[in-house]
Subunit: 322 residues, 2 copies
């Protein structure tokens, strides 16, 4: 029996793929631009091309199947993807059927990308040390997953885990979905960048001005981290402000779920302890005493690989023939 | 095989017990004062007395076991109870062992009272119509349970479901546990009563003054409901204020869990739509569009029986000999 599977991480800008050996991890990688503005059929062709390239570069046994993380809602059967972010003209697509046709692979499983990141961490990353944890992915938006006893808790229809839509202030600012005080309204990339721009107007001493060529419109969370590492106080304060908000939201989730470990991944998590130490402090202060023991926030170190590894795990875990 | 079980609802002021027939419900009931100030051994004696009385009044086959809801944390094995509210000198007690000794019943299961209420609703109440829902119990405090696929989601150590410790305002007032902006800091009985007293000082026209004999210190949420039913605007406004806060907290829970049905029980839920309509409006406004379909808040109509029925269900559901 083959111990290989294909893992695909479909994003708004790129399709990342890997051939994964179950016990050892990534064997080969491949990536292409998503070209999501050209519609679902084109994107599915490109996903198939990535999968084929990975199979051709590998001389071993055929993979047992293909798992894929997607930036949208997935049905309970893990076959269709609805309204993925940043992919044009995409309503509800049966991705399993479309990829079966293109690839001739029977065993195909899709899942929301944050849930896939959670599985990647649970089986190949920092999460291997824990049975249950909350995964938080800080990217363009704020995603999340609930991993309970090494499985994804999916709720009634498969949409559980959206920590970014939890509110920390019922009278707070609105996020893109109109939820007041949602975490995403503070830590989503655009919201955080805009907050930083407004703050830095009054901090002429900040090195962020120089790093952006005196054009704050080019500022991203990465710039803040870069400046903070160089000792810039204003940038560190902004990251601490964001981390505090994250910790407050996580405390509600920990209090509700009695899941005490939080693992943070995604681009903005590269800001590391500038962001996570204030989050830890807020979490510690806001967690109900009965669930305080063992509460912690860790950073996922797998980087981008967490997605393709989690996707391949999906294929391994759901392979009934194995 | 017997289809009878004993269900016990241990509270700070009373021990309620019932003999329950699995399919038809409560066959016989019995209650005694808890006398929680006299220590755990005395309370356990009184629980045993309630159980014995129920067995003696019934001529049918012996019950298959005993289930009990308790106002405290329960371990994952559902045998010990830690630091229950309003019961003196009670640290960590192996309730199963203590009741086995007193009753000679082998099959004994304990569980947190809000989780038991959730099971009661799921198997005998409004919850029978749903596979998954959030149970909220509005009593002295604000309790809760996550029922997923007709089972209790217990988290890592058995403490999951504490909706009352979710925060709606990271800079809000503190509850008894020191959590800022926790729902319990608005809807806990003492907090809500105190909020009402402060508001009503400036509402001399309110009929609450008359209902309390012009002594607002005797006000309870029940008084507010009574006045609101009689058309008192101030009382209705206060209940709406509380309901709005509840709905805001529930929206975070629904967004996180993709569990879209909320069932509310406990004393303050008697305020009915004065409380729940504003909660519904807030929930509807604050729920992420992707999980909005089918979102609703219902009131549990079983009243006090929900606890003893849920407790008996615990015994039925975990009876390995059945």
């Amino acid at each position: 029996m083959s111990t290989y599977a294909l893992g695909i991480d479909l994003g708004g800008t790129s399709i990342k793929g890997a051939l994964v050996e179950q016990d050892t991890g990534v064997v080969a990688q491949c990536a292409r631009a998503t070209e999501g503005d050209q519609g679902p059929s084109h994107v599915l062709d490109r996903i198939a091309a990535v999968a084929k390239e990975l199979m051709h570069t590998h001389n071993g046994p055929a993979p047992i199947g293909l798992g894929m993380g997607v930036p949208g809602a997935v049905n309970l059967e893990r076959t269709t993807v609805s309204y993925p972010a940043n992919l044009d003209d995409w309503a509800v697509v049966d991705v399993r059927a479309a990829l079966r046709e293109r690839l001739g692979i029977a065993h195909i499983v899709v899942e929301n990308d944050a849930n896939v990141a959670g599985l990647g961490s649970a089986h190949y990353g920092v999460g291997t040390a824990y049975d249950s944890f909350l995964m938080v992915t800080l990217g363009t938006g704020v995603g999340g997953a609930i991993i309970h006893n090494n499985r994804v808790f999916r709720g009634s229809t498969g949409g559980a885990g959206e920590i970014g839509h939890m509110s920390i202030d019922y009278e707070g600012p609105l996020d893109n979905s109109g939820v007041a005080g949602a975490v995403e309204a503070y830590l989503g990339q655009r919201f955080l960048s805009q907050h930083a721009r407004l703050r830095l107007r009054h901090r002429p001493e900040s090195t962020v001005h120089g790093l952006t060529g005196n054009d704050l419109s080019t500022l991203t969370p990465r710039t803040l981290h870069q400046a903070a590492k160089q000792g810039d106080e204003a940038a560190a304060e902004i990251l601490a402000w964001a981390g505090h908000k994250l910790g407050c939201a996580l405390s509600s989730a920990v209090n509700l779920l009695d899941i005490r470990v939080v693992i943070v991944g995604g681009g903005i998590s590269n800001a590391g302890d500038f962001l996570l130490d204030p989050a830890r402090e807020a979490l510690h202060n806001q967690v109900f005493p009965g669930v305080k023991e063992g509460v912690c926030i860790e950073r996922e170190n797998l980087g981008n690989e967490v997605g393709v590894l989690g996707a391949a795990h999906l294929a391994f875990a759901t392979n009934l023939a194995a």
